[in-house]
């Protein structure tokens, strides 16, 4: 087993905390890991990345070879595109949809989000909404880690003691809130993965999940949802203007 991840984001988005979580999960499971990161000048609001490698045997290089990453995990949707050359043919991209616009030539948001959706295996996450709903708006990175977990050799239960270590000082509420963010991120990641594996195009899966409350996702309903998302009512549902998210039940009702 080996799992190689490029972690990406903008300086200050907390990608090193994601790395900390995954590193510790790996070591607690008895895996070997290496995780190379960028410090210094680049951390000042610039593009930052980390190479994270997990394996059940010796890892030789700290850097992932080009074209071999199993995942690009990005806390920012434009940053994804900086590292696609690192991704393996069957690699997955897990990204937040919230742009960080701190450069003058940032493309239109829709262009960036659509470019994410049109990748071969995309998982799109409204990490900000997930984190805000749990009362910890800054925990976008935890939502991302949760979504990534749906593809990695870990379970959510691996994170309990690590989150305790990270946030225990700030009280049990903070620990619980961060765990909830991880869980809701995981639900989106897991549901998207199952839809993709069932053969649904990434664009459809991502657009559908962008409408649905993460805590309403029930993976037992993947076959039904997949079939409905290939049905005649999808276009209308996608085009309908809405305020806020709907539940999976409501989506199913609309598509049926």
């Amino acid at each position: 087993m080996k799992y190689d991840v490029i972690l990406a984001g903008v300086g200050g988005q907390g990608i090193l905390t994601i790395a900390y979580l995954l590193d510790n999960a790996a070591i607690n499971r008895g895996f070997r890991f290496k995780q190379a990161e960028v410090h210094g000048m680049a951390q000042r609001g610039g593009a930052v990345y980390s190479h994270m490698r997990i394996s059940d045997r010796e890892i030789i290089s700290d850097l992932i070879p080009e074209g071999h990453a199993d995942m690009v995990l990005s806390v920012e949707p434009l940053e994804v595109h900086r590292y696609l050359y690192m991704l393996a043919d069957n690699g997955v991209v897990v990204s937040s949809v919230a742009p960080v616009v701190n450069i003058p030539d940032y493309p239109e948001r829709d262009v960036v989000v659509n470019a994410l959706y049109s990748l071969p295996r995309p998982v799109a996450l409204d990490a900000g909404a997930i984190a805000t709903e749990a009362g910890v708006p800054k925990a976008e990175n935890m939502a991302m880690a949760g979504a990534a977990t749906a593809f990695m050799p870990f379970d959510l239960s691996d994170y309990g003691p690590i989150v305790e270590k990270l946030f225990g000082k700030k009280g049990p509420e903070m620990v619980a809130a961060n765990m909830k963010v991880l869980e809701n991120g995981y639900r989106v990641g897991r549901f998207t993965r199952l839809l993709l594996e069932a053969g649904l195009p990434g664009t459809v899966a991502c657009r559908a999940l962008a409408m649905v409350r993460p805590d309403s996702l029930d993976e037992a309903r993947v076959p039904q949802v997949k079939a409905l998302l290939q049905g005649p009512r999808v276009a209308a549902a996608f085009d309908r203007p809405r305020e806020g998210l709907i539940t999976l039940d409501e989506l199913v009702a609309e598509l049926s």
């Binding site: 590193d23 995780q35 410090h39 210094g40 000048m41 700290d62 074209g67 003058p104 030539d105 049109s118």
Partner: protein
């Protein structure tokens, strides 16, 4: 049971040093070396060791050497360009030798992720005639530094640990050994040992020169110089150093089919190199850093068989090595990669933080210089170099620590006006003071901004040597006339009153120092917790 810990390469060196029984760590912050010192600092109390940042790398090296003089073990850390600052002390310590073990951890930055050049510290080790270790993974960081201390005391010489960014800033789990106690106080008794009067120095230098065969033999026999020849295809022979060995091994998932020599201990093991070269048809040198191995073996007549390395363009002449470059060198086709549907992915360079005091200061400078036909500002090493970018365009030079003041003085002497220089509080205490003494003596017609944000910001908000009143007193003490030392608070709402000060001081025919005093917002945030 095995004890494992997750450590950055830098931290593995630090813990190895603590387990080797150091009594102190010295250094000046610099990416990618900073985390070595910070790890020791965070655990100093537990281990009963001294860990205090020094004013600059030369100071740090000399403090470490003093601890060695007293018989105790010490480690000193810096980035590659920091060793230029410490070079006087370092090279001379190769002649004096050491007493208690002394290890210099110097972290190079191939590819210049956060540096002004990509100089290769292995040349410094060779220059000083001292041994050098070059780990290729975090475990070797830990193991090598422990061995390096023993070697340092055995040879009575300082020993270099050469790190590179990719290892310094990469984490892995490390298997730990048993800690060794600290040395007892045992100062040098021979008055000639550290006294480099010419007559003494000649004897010391002859002694070190005479030791070279022993040092080389040690290196030839080191477990860190590994020649794999048996059962390998000898059509090709590969020589790789440190982390570059990893990129080669990665191509074949650890099972390199060709003869290979991995070098991680210096002086160069020339006998091992010769053994490999003699056995193979074609030699590749895959070297992270400058072509040290390549040049050492090429000589005037070459090696009598094809040699592929940096000089012939097989390996790029500059920049950091990667697994992809290794593949390319050995003719392996790249695979994978997904195409982006975005036409253009704009770059995202680092920038000053939202609310940074430097932004306000650069706005003042930009607005003042607007009225002059020639707009030139000399800057220095730190976050404020980011004032180079839009909208400030307030940086025309960034060369080395302290060069803002001295270059400004030189340009002023050439007749340039106005002359503006910017330097941070920590860089000022590192190497700016000496330049300012000269500028004050000559009353150079220039305006120096000391951006006092009370911290070493770029490297992660380490403690600065002097800030606030202490910094003001230093400036005054260096001879700058008091009526031309101004303190401003760089805030948007104080812009107009600050402009009046800046304009007047730039027009003043002589030296002015404007201290722009406001704490770094990152440091303030950290202090709040």
């Amino acid at each position: 049971m095995d004890v494992r810990e997750i450590l950055l390469g830098d931290e593995a060196v630090a813990l190895g040093a603590l387990h080797a029984g150091i009594s102190g760590a010295f250094g000046y912050p610099g990416t990618p070396s900073t985390e070595m010192f910070e790890y020791v600092e965070a655990h100093a109390e537990k281990w009963g060791v001294i860990a205090r940042w020094s004013a600059n790398e030369k100071v740090a090296y000399e403090e470490a050497l003093g601890m060695s003089f007293a018989g105790k073990r010490s480690i000193v850390s810096m980035k590659h360009v920091g060793l230029n600052v410490a070079a006087d002390a370092f090279v001379n310590s190769g002649v004096t030798g050491v007493h208690g073990g002394l290890v210099l951890m110097v972290a190079d930055d191939p590819g210049m992720h956060s540096s002004q050049n990509e100089q290769d510290s292995r040349f410094y080790a060779k220059f000083a005639g001292v041994p050098c270790y070059e780990p290729r993974n975090q475990q070797e960081c830990y193991d090598m530094v422990r061995e390096a201390f023993d070697l340092s005391e055995k040879l009575e010489l300082p020993v270099v640990m050469r790190m590179v960014t990719r290892l310094a800033h990469s984490r892995a789990d490390v298997l730990l050994g048993e800690p060794r106690p600290q040395n007892k106080l045992d100062p040098v008794t021979d008055p000639t040992h550290f006294t480099l009067l010419p007559g003494v120095a000649r004897k010391r230098w002859a002694k070190v020169a005479a030791m070279q065969p022993e040092i080389i033999a040690d290196s030839e026999a080191s477990r860190f110089n590994t020649l794999e020849l048996e059962g390998r295809d000898t059509k090709i022979g590969i020589i790789a150093n440190g982390v570059a060995s990893n990129y080669v091994r990665e191509i074949w998932d650890g099972q390199v089919p060709y003869a290979m020599l991995s070098i991680r201990r210096y002086p160069l093991p020339m006998a091992l190199i010769k053994k490999l070269v003699d056995a193979v048809d074609v030699v590749y040198v895959f070297e992270e850093g400058y072509p040290l191995i390549e040049e050492a073996i090429t000589g005037i007549n070459g090696i009598g068989k094809p040699l592929h390395a940096r000089a012939d363009g097989t390996v790029p002449r500059t920049g950091e090595l990667t697994p992809a470059i290794a593949k390319q060198v050995f003719g392996i086709q790249p695979s994978g990669g997904v195409k982006s549907t975005l036409e253009n992915v704009p770059g995202r360079p680092p920038k000053l933080c939202q609310g940074c005091s430097h932004a306000d200061t650069y706005n003042l400078i930009r607005e003042t210089l607007k009225d002059y036909p020639v707009k030139r500002a000399f800057a220095d090493i730190g976050c404020y170099t980011l004032g180079f970018y839009e909208p400030f365009n307030g940086v025309h030079s960034c060369v080395d620590m302290g060069a803002s003041i001295t270059m400004a003085k030189g340009a002023s002497a050439a007749g340039l006006f106005p002359v503006v220089a910017t330097i941070g509080d920590s860089t000022f205490m590192h190497s700016g003071m000496t330049g300012l003494v000269g500028a004050a003596r000559d009353n150079a017609n220039m305006t120096l901004f000391i951006l006092d944000n009370s911290t070493v910001a770029m490297t992660g908000t380490q403690l600065t040597m002097a800030t606030g009143d202490a910094l003001y007193n230093v400036v005054k003490g260096l001879g700058v006339p008091e009526d031309h030392i101004k303190i401003i608070t760089p805030l948007p709402r104080k812009h107009e009153e600050n402009m009046a000060v800046v304009k007047a001081e730039i027009e003043h025919n002589g030296l002015s120092v404007i201290i722009a005093r406001r704490v770094c917002i990152q440091a303030a945030r950290k202090a709040r917790g």
